[in-house]
Amino acid sequence: MEKISIDPITRLEGHGKIEIFLNGDGDVENAYLQIPELRGFERFCEGRPVEELPRIVTRLCGV
């Protein structure tokens, strides 16, 4: 099946790519949005003092 990759998706905050599969007629059979990014805030916020979190989680998204 033919595959069209839109990589990266642009003009938004965050990382992503879209894979579009075309069937024999050239129509879209299926499309997948993938997020090729993980930083792990959920993990590394553990153990940090609560008063520091406003200065850490603001770096989840700076847009």
Partner: protein
């Protein structure tokens, strides 16, 4: 003459560095007049295949923000390095690992365990974690592989200049642009910031006082005119490069080190331990033990932005 070509990219980052470029306000028009932007995912629609098709060294200036923590980020860093004459580590994450490098206190497996299995907000009955290859009915999907260890840009590719900060302040961004536009870029390896420490630039009153107790924010209202460290509030100023414009200090908040170590300092956290130890005053062993206990999360404070760039780089990796 053709305009110089400018590329901007984000790896493991939050987009704040990209927004800092936009924070130049009307000066962004000067930047657009000065150079053709050939790649900037947050703002302009060019794809990776456009970059791959470029000739080597055809990009004149690449501002690369974000740390490197996946095969894709490493690949794009190498790609942009090949295509660029001048590579700039832009912002704390690219320079020192930044906040994302706090993940170096864990490994990939531990991060996956927390993020995909343990979080109460999760709905993941099948226990799925990201796979580099997934078979679907229509074919195969691929994701980059995450590293155990978050890296700085310079740990992956050679870098000409460093612009620190989380995010870099507008005046330093414009300084870099001016140096580039006028052909006056400094010696390779230069940090576009101050050569002093934050303490040297801070105008708060310092009395060379010793401290006997450390305070958390709910225990004290800081005097806005006096040195925070001498009030018993951990401030990373003695071990941090200046040039930030004292943004946190002026908000009566202690520094957390986003400008990285000052000139001549290899390990920001070790320098900070030394600075704090020199003003710590305990009369006996119990006093000193108490004060050490008052220091909450020393590793996450002293290496808030610099763990990847530190001498230890990460928590020791135990692999099965």
């Amino acid at each position: 003459m053709a305009k110089p070509k400018l590329a901007l990219y984000w790896a493991a980052s939050c987009g704040g560095c990209d927004v800092a470029v936009l924070d130049t306000n009307e000066k962004i028009l000067d930047i657009a007049n000065l150079a053709d932007i050939v790649f900037w995912p947050i703002a302009v629609d060019f794809k990776y295949h456009h970059v791959r098709a470029m000739e080597d060294k055809s990009i004149d200036l690449c501002l690369f923000n974000g740390a490197i923590r996946s095969t894709e980020q490493e690949e794009i860093a190498r790609l942009l390095r090949d295509k660029s004459k001048v590579m700039v580590a832009f912002g704390a994450c690219a320079c020192f690992g930044g906040i994302p490098a706090l993940a170096n206190f864990a490994n990939r497996e531990e991060i996956f365990q927390t993020v995909y299995h343990e979080l109460p907000s999760n709905s993941n009955d099948s226990g799925t974690t990201p796979l580099t290859k997934t078979e679907v009915a229509e074919g195969e999907l691929e994701l980059p592989e995450l590293f155990d260890t978050v890296l700085t840009l310079e740990q992956v590719v050679p870098v000409e200049y460093f612009v620190p900060g989380c995010p870099p302040p507008v005046d330093l961004i414009l300084k870099l642009v001016d140096l580039f536009a006028s052909g006056q870029l400094p010696a390779v390896g230069s940090v576009i910031a101050s050569d002093k420490t934050l303490c040297d630039e801070c105008e708060r009153i310092k009395e060379e006082k010793k401290i006997t107790k450390l305070y958390r924010p709910h225990e004290i209202i800081p005097d806005p005119n006096k040195c925070l460290l001498e009030q018993g509030i951990i401030c990373c100023g003695p071990a941090t490069r200046g040039g930030c414009g004292l943004r946190c200090i002026e908000a009566n908040m202690p520094c957390r080190g986003c400008f990285g170590p000052p000139p001549g300092v290899t390990d920001q956290g070790a320098k900070l331990v030394s600075a704090i130890a020199s003003i710590y005053q305990g009369d006996n062993e119990d006093d000193i033990k108490r004060m050490v206990e008052e220091m909450v999360d020393p590793a996450g404070t002293f290496y808030r932005f610099g763990l990847a760039d530190s001498m230890m780089k990460r928590k020791r990796l135990h692999k099965r």
